[in-house]
Symmetry: C2
Subunit: 392 residues, 2 copies
């Protein structure tokens, strides 16, 4: 059974997403009687969430005063990847006031990794980015129990299973924290400030070290019964395909992902079928997915073919998911989105050919707009939502 | 953004699903202050939805009077299959008071088919099943715009595209009507009174003439952007497989469905590989999926293998959908569910082996409890919901 969104949450979100406005505008936006709005605003001002923001531009008559979210509100947004930490501190409008990005190995475990997150956040405070944090949002590369704030049996995160991530961050920073899957926060970011803005039903497909899918249905992230919905990297696409790290054969991400592409690129470089990759291998000793992208831009036939083969695999899985969920949009993000329009063209071609015409009649398949920032952007949205939720 | 369920809808549903109860019990169930409840009940009595139902059993002290849904409420529930019409008239508790089932070809078009539906309903009135209908719910074997109450580009329903089914039924019976996809109504039926009772996230897989999937997410049917979510029959499972009626090759339902199974059964009967099927072919001139089921029960190796092959195909697709949606339950229904435990065992085996362990740790894969009645049962639920919605 559905529950209604509380008034204070709607009010704070409007100010976050649309900025300062007059009480009259706010009443119109929320379709709320003025006395109730004024009482609620007064309460939120006294709690420190909302502040006066000067006078509106004159339109004749008495000029009205604007209200806005308190300029001192600060949220921390953290995106943990398999091999990276991205941290931002953002203001009430979710604009970054401090940002750090560095390589890190998630396999170092939760203590080392979260200690580094905390160090970066303390550095931000020393640098003047905030006095206190009002919430922390964090995404991790594995399944999460959203309710409990802990990773659950994450395959590539040894030592993280049921580690109390939310509790540790809450204790360290004295504010609420929220933990989600890395692909979900990317989808949330893209819906808040990217290409999927205000789209209620879409799939965000992350193609990076692994492959995963964020699912927006009826305007909400769908996380599944155990928090692992969207785990499409292990859908079998070739029963005679290579062994996957999960123990099965022919999984999508065993055939196409950052790791799989690097492996095939090295093979092509060594066998000499790709001059562009052979050249890069000779120069660097190893080639990666990025080299394939660069080779394709130069017109190297093998590089283009590798990307097309991958696009065909991803497209095949997405065609099934389009028939299944009938979404309004598909967004492609993650590191391999850098493979750009060749990848996109192949995915589109397969999806449009193989899904029900009714479902693809008006289905954009597009690249992420926020790119590598999608994750922290979504973590910031989650953090602000959880902070606003406390203002009840 | 979510909307709250109106009070009158919650109240009427509780009386529908739990039967007569005292005002005090009702107040407890709905967690509602007594004055508001009494006012709402009075309103619903005056509208003819609710009636007094005598005295509760004595528990000492003054005996309280019970309220129940009006005994004269009647809903029509219609399930149109590719080759069948099922019609029921049900009372306020959704118990059938009249039922008709007959073969019919959906390709005869909407006018002929709906005229027959109307004839059956008028017959029910003449037979005393109702004085007037309060709503009609109908399921059709194709995609539906739930909002508009019309089929949309249904592949196996020539002449039905955008035909105003809801409007015609509303006009004919002078009450609201609601149109949905046949698999969705089966899922709704199974959740209301079957094996998926009170399960919020599950997949209902219908394996019959074709294959489709009803999707319950967070307690609601998910219909997708264009009303065609769940169309899993055309997911490709073998790029070298047979041509499908949709024009693509190797679709799930081209490999396993009532039609595909009958085709393979006839081949096996003719080639002599299956004694059980050869015998039936000699006796009847043709064999169907039902003969395969009977042959399997007798231990015919070919029949068992045909069912296992089909289960493997379905299981492969479901494994991907389990990874994608992480549901709490999978229900198998439709005509081929009669293939029973051999089919179920094979589907389970593939799903448990191929999906993420976290998603299958506690995932029942079970047969429909309502069987052929699932569709009308769900249509009745939809009809009552739409009637209750009018009581605002």
């Amino acid at each position: 059974m559905r529950t209604v969104e509380p008034l204070h949450l709607r009010l704070l979100r409007v100010l976050r997403d649309e900025g300062a406005m007059s009480r009259a505008e706010l009443g119109d936006r929320l379709q709320m009687p003025r006395p109730r709005l004024l009482a609620e605003l007064e309460r939120l001002v006294s709690l420190g969430y909302v502040a006066e923001a000067g006078l509106a531009a004159s339109r004749g008559g008495r000029r009205s005063t604007l209200v806005e979210l308190s300029p001192s509100l600060r949220f921390a947004a953290v995106d943990l990847g398999a091999s990276s930490i991205d941290v931002e501190v953002v203001n009430a409008r979710l604009e970054p006031v401090a940002a750090y990005a560095e390589p890190a190995d998630i396999r170092n475990g939760p203590k080392v990794t979260l200690q580094r997150v905390n160090e970066l956040l303390h550095k931000a405070r020393v640098d003047g980015a905030y006095e206190r944090l009002h919430a922390v949002g964090i995404g991790v590369p594995g399944p999460v129990s959203f309710r409990d704030g802990v990773p659950v049996s994450p395959p590539i995160m040894p030592g993280w299973d049921r580690f109390p991530v939310r509790e540790l961050l809450t204790r360290e920073h004295g504010c609420p924290a929220v933990v989600d899957n890395d692909v979900n926060i990317m989808a949330i970011g893209e819906r808040h400030g990217g290409v999927a803005h205000s789209v209620d039903d879409f799939l965000f497909v992350k193609i990076g070290t692994g492959i995963g899918c964020g699912i927006y249905l009826s305007g909400d992230v769908y996380r599944g019964t155990d928090g692992c919905a969207g785990d499409i990297g292990h859908i079998q696409v070739d029963s005679h395909g290579p062994m996957c790290s999960c123990g099965n054969v022919g999984c999508l991400e065993a055939l196409f992902s950052g790791a799989a592409l690097a492996r095939e690129a090295n093979t092509s470089a060594r066998s000499g079928t790709s001059p562009a990759l052979a050249e890069r291998l000779a120069a660097k000793g190893v080639v990666t997915a990025r080299d394939v992208a660069e080779g394709a831009v130069e017109g190297d036939v093998t590089c283009i073919q590798l990307i097309r083969d991958g696009g065909r695999r991803v497209g095949g899985v997405l065609a099934g998911l389009v028939s299944f969920t009938n979404p309004s949009m598909i967004v492609i993000g993650g590191g391999l989105a850098q493979l750009g329009h060749i990848l996109l063209a192949e995915i589109r071609s397969v999806v449009y050919r193989r899904s029900l015409p009714l479902a693809t009649g008006n289905l954009p398949v597009v690249l992420s707009e926020l790119g590598p920032r999608a994750g922290v952007a979504g973590a910031a949205v989650l953090a602000s939502d959880v902070a606003f939720g406390e203002a009840s």
